[in-house]
C-alpha cells in the first residue's frame, strides 16, 4: 500500500510513466489472448474432417450441405469467419454447438459452476497445505528433510493416480465420500467434490510447499535476520516481519500459477470422478469435433491463465516496488 501512496504524491512525470506502464501491460495481455485465439481458431479450421459432413452424415444432399454451411457461416473466407466469431464472443455469443445444436454460451454456463467450485475448493486446500507445510519446513530446521522428502514424492503423484487411491480408501473401504459424480445443491456438491479437490491438490500442494520452503530458507540466512534477532526481537516477530515478508513474492507467484493451472488440471480430475463440468464438456467436444465448444473453453482457460499471471504481477509490484523500477529486465 505504501508503494501506491508514494506514487500518487510523486511528480507528474512519474505518474504518467506509471500509467503508460500499466496501459502497456494491459495491451500486451490483450494482444496475447487475441493472438492465441487467432492461432487456435486457424488451427481448428484447418483440421481435417468436415464438421458439416459429421453432422449430416455422408449421404446428405449437396443442397442440404450448402445450406448448413451457409447457416454456420462456413462458406465465408476464413479471416471473415474469425472476425465474426471474435465480434460474437465480445457480445457474449460463442456460436452454436454442432453436437448439442444449441448455443455454446448456455452449455458452458450450465457446467462452469461445478468446475469453478472444484477449482476453488482445490485452491483453498493447496494454499493451506502448500503454504503451511512449506513455511513449516522453512522455519524449523528439523522439519526440512522430511518436508523435502514428502513433497518430492507427492510431486510425482498426478491427480488421476491420487484419485484411484482416494476412491479405494475413502469411498470404497471407509465409505466416507462418494466415489463418482458431483451431487446437487451446494453442500452436497461440496461433499461430492471433496475427493476430487484433494486429488487435484496433492501434487500442486507439494509444488507450492517446495517453492515456499526454499524461499523461506533463503531469506532466513540473510544478515538482517541475525541483526534483528541480536537486537532482542522475538523470534516469531522476526520470522513474520523479516523472513516471511521477503519470501512472499515467490510464494505468491507459485500460488497464482497453481490456481491458473488448476483449470486445465480439472479436465483430468473431472474424468477420474465422473463429474459433469467444463472439462468433461471439453472432452466430449474434442471427440465430437464440436469446435465452437473447444474454442470457447480454450479461450476461457487462456483468459483465466493470463488474468492469474497479471494478478501475480500486480501483487508482486505492490509487495516489492523495486520490481517496477527495472522495467522489463
Amino acid at each position: 500500500m505504501t508503494a501506491v501512496s508514494v506514487s500518487l504524491s510523486g511528480p507528474r512525470s512519474v505518474h504518467l510513466h506509471r500509467l503508460r506502464t500499466v496501459a502497456k501491460a494491459v495491451a500486451g495481455r490483450l494482444l496475447t489472448i487475441l493472438i492465441a485465439s487467432f492461432v487456435v481458431f486457424m488451427a481448428l479450421s484447418a483440421a481435417p474432417g468436415n464438421p458439416v459432413r459429421l453432422v449430416l452424415g455422408p449421404k446428405a444432399s449437396p443442397a442440404a450441405r450448402a445450406q448448413l454451411e451457409h447457416r454456420l457461416g462456413l462458406d465465408q473466407p476464413i479471416l471473415e469467419r474469425y472476425w465474426n466469431w471474435l465480434t460474437g464472443v465480445l457480445h457474449g455469443d460463442f456460436g452454436i454447438s454442432l453436437v448439442y445444436k444449441t448455443a455454446v454460451g448456455p452449455l458452458i454456463g450450465a457446467r462452469i459452476g461445478t468446475t469453478l467450485l472444484l477449482v476453488a475448493y482445490a485452491a483453498v486446500l493447496i494454499l493451506i497445505a502448500g503454504l503451511g507445510i512449506g513455511v513449516l519446513g522453512g522455519a524449523f530446521r528439523r522439519a526440512g528433510a522430511p518436508v523435502a522428502g514428502l513433497t518430492g514424492f507427492l510431486l510425482g503423484v498426478p491427480s488421476f493416480v491420487a484419485a484411484q487411491l482416494l476412491i479405494l480408501f475413502f469411498a470404497l473401504d471407509l465409505g466416507w465420500f462418494p466415489a463418482q459424480g458431483a451431487g446437487s445443491g451446494f453442500s452436497d456438491q461440496l461433499y461430492h467434490l471433496t475427493l476430487p479437490a484433494i486429488s487435484l491438490a496433492i501434487a500442486f500442494s507439494a509444488w507450492v510447499a517446495q517453492v515456499t520452503m526454499t524461499s523461506v530458507r533463503e531469506e532466513r540466512i540473510h544478515e538482517h535476520v541475525d541483526t534483528a534477532r541480536g537486537r532482542g526481537m522475538a523470534a516469531p516477530l522476526v520470522f513474520r516481519r523479516h523472513v516471511l515478508r521477503n519470501a512472499a513474492v515467490p510464494m505468491i507467484t507459485v500460488s497464482g500459477l497453481t490456481v491458473a493451472s488448476l483449470f486445465a488440471g480439472a479436465v483430468v480430475a473431472e474424468r477420474a470422478f465422473n463429474i459433469g463440468g467444463l472439462g468433461s464438456l471439453m472432452l466430449e467436444a474434442v471427440s465430437g469435433k464440436d469446435y465452437n465448444i473447444v474454442l470457447a473453453v480454450t479461450l476461457i482457460l487462456i483468459t483465466v491463465f493470463v488474468i492469474a499471471t497479471s494478478v501475480i504481477d500486480i501483487v508482486q509490484y505492490l509487495l516489492d516496488p523495486r520490481l517496477s523500477k527495472g522495467g522489463g529486465r
Partner: protein
C-alpha cells in the same frame, strides 16, 4: 574442430562432467532403478509371460496368482505383461518430447540471443504467448485437430515444453553473451556458430541437462494424463496412463490390481527422474555462481 581454444574457459571442464560422486548414493540408486525400468521396457517381448493384447474370456478378472502375477483384466489379458509393454510408450513419448524440446528450445534461445535486438524481443514475446497455454490444453487442442493417438499429443507437448527450455537457456545464454570472453572470441575472428557452439553452449549445458530431466518427468505425467482421459494411444494398445483408466472400472468393482500397478509405475518413474533432475539443477546453479 580439432584446434582447442587458446583462452581458458571457466566452467567448461566442470559442467562437462556429470559423474556420480561418492556422497550421491541416493542418486546412484535412483539411476540404477531407472536403468532397470528402461531395460524392462526394451526387453518387454522377452520378459512378458503373455501376449499383452491376447484376450482370454475364460480367465477374465482373475486375482493375482503365480501364473498371473498381477491377475488379469476384464478381457482376460495378463496385467503384468501389459504393464511391461506399457512401459514402452510411457517412456518413449517423454523421451521424444524431451529430446526435441531441448534441441529446438536451445537452438531458438541461443540463436535469438546471438542475433539480439528486435529479433530477440520478438522471440521472447512469442515464448510468452506460448506460456499462456497450459501444456495439457495445447495437447487437447492438437488431439481435437489431428485425432487421438500417440503422435499428436507428443508433438503438441514438444511445442508446449519448448518455451520452458528456451526461457532457462535464454537467461543463462544472455548472461554469457555479455561476458568479456565472448568479445575476445569475436576479436579473434571466430565465427558466430563457433562461439555459440563451443563457448556459449558448453556453459549452459548443465542448465539444459537439469531442465531437460525435469521436463521428462512432467512430460511423462502429461502424457499419462492424456492417456487417462482417453486422448492417448487407442485400444488395444495401452500405456500406463490408459491402464489406470481401464483399471479404474475394475477398481470400483473391487479389483484394484491394474489401476494400482500402473499408478505405481508412473509415480516411481517420475519421482526417480525428479530426484536426478533436482540434483542436476543444484549442481548447475552452483557452477553458474
Amino acid at each position: 574442430m580439432s584446434a582447442t581454444p587458446e583462452i581458458p574457459v571457466a566452467g567448461h571442464v566442470v559442467t562437462s562432467r556429470l559423474r556420480i560422486r561418492g556422497g550421491d548414493t541416493l542418486i546412484a540408486i535412483s539411476a540404477a532403478i531407472l536403468a532397470v525400468i528402461v531395460l524392462v521396457a526394451i526387453l518387454a517381448p522377452l520378459l512378458a509371460p503373455y501376449e499383452p493384447n491376447q484376450t482370454d474370456i475364460l480367465h477374465a478378472s482373475l486375482p493375482p496368482s503365480s501364473s498371473h502375477l498381477l491377475g488379469t483384466d476384464e478381457l482376460g489379458r495378463d496385467i503384468f505383461s501389459r504393464l511391461l509393454y506399457g512401459a514402452r510408450l510411457s517412456l518413449l513419448g517423454p523421451t521424444i518430447i524431451t529430446v526435441l524440446a531441448v534441441f529446438l528450445g536451445t537452438l531458438t534461445a541461443i540463436y535469438s540471443v546471438w542475433i539480439g535486438g528486435r529479433f530477440d524481443a520478438a522471440v521472447a514475446r512469442g515464448l510468452d504467448i506460448l506460456f499462456a497455454f497450459p501444456s495439457l490444453l495445447i495437447a487437447i487442442i492438437a488431439v481435437s485437430i489431428f485425432g487421438a493417438g500417440f503422435v499428436a499429443p507428443v508433438l503438441a507437448l514438444v511445442i508446449a515444453y519448448l518455451p520452458y527450455i528456451a526461457r532457462v537457456v535464454r537467461s543463462v545464454a544472455l548472461r554469457e553473451r555479455n561476458l568479456a570472453y565472448i568479445d575476445s572470441c569475436r576479436m579473434m575472428g571466430f565465427s558466430g556458430i563457433r562461439i555459440c557452439g563451443r563457448h556459449i553452449l558448453p556453459n549452459v549445458r548443465g542448465m539444459i541437462a537439469a531442465q531437460g530431466t525435469i521436463s521428462f518427468a512432467s512430460a511423462l505425467l502429461d502424457l499419462a494424463a492424456l492417456s487417462f482421459i482417453g486422448l492417448g494411444p487407442q485400444p488395444p494398445t495401452s500405456d500406463w496412463g490408459s491402464m489406470v483408466s481401464e483399471g479404474s472400472n475394475e477398481l470400483l468393482n473391487g479389483a484394484p490390481a491394474q489401476s494400482l500397478a500402473a499408478s505405481g509405475a508412473i509415480v516411481l518413474t517420475v519421482v526417480l527422474v525428479n530426484l536426478i533432475g533436482e540434483r542436476l539443477a543444484t549442481r548447475a546453479a552452483r557452477v553458474v555462481r
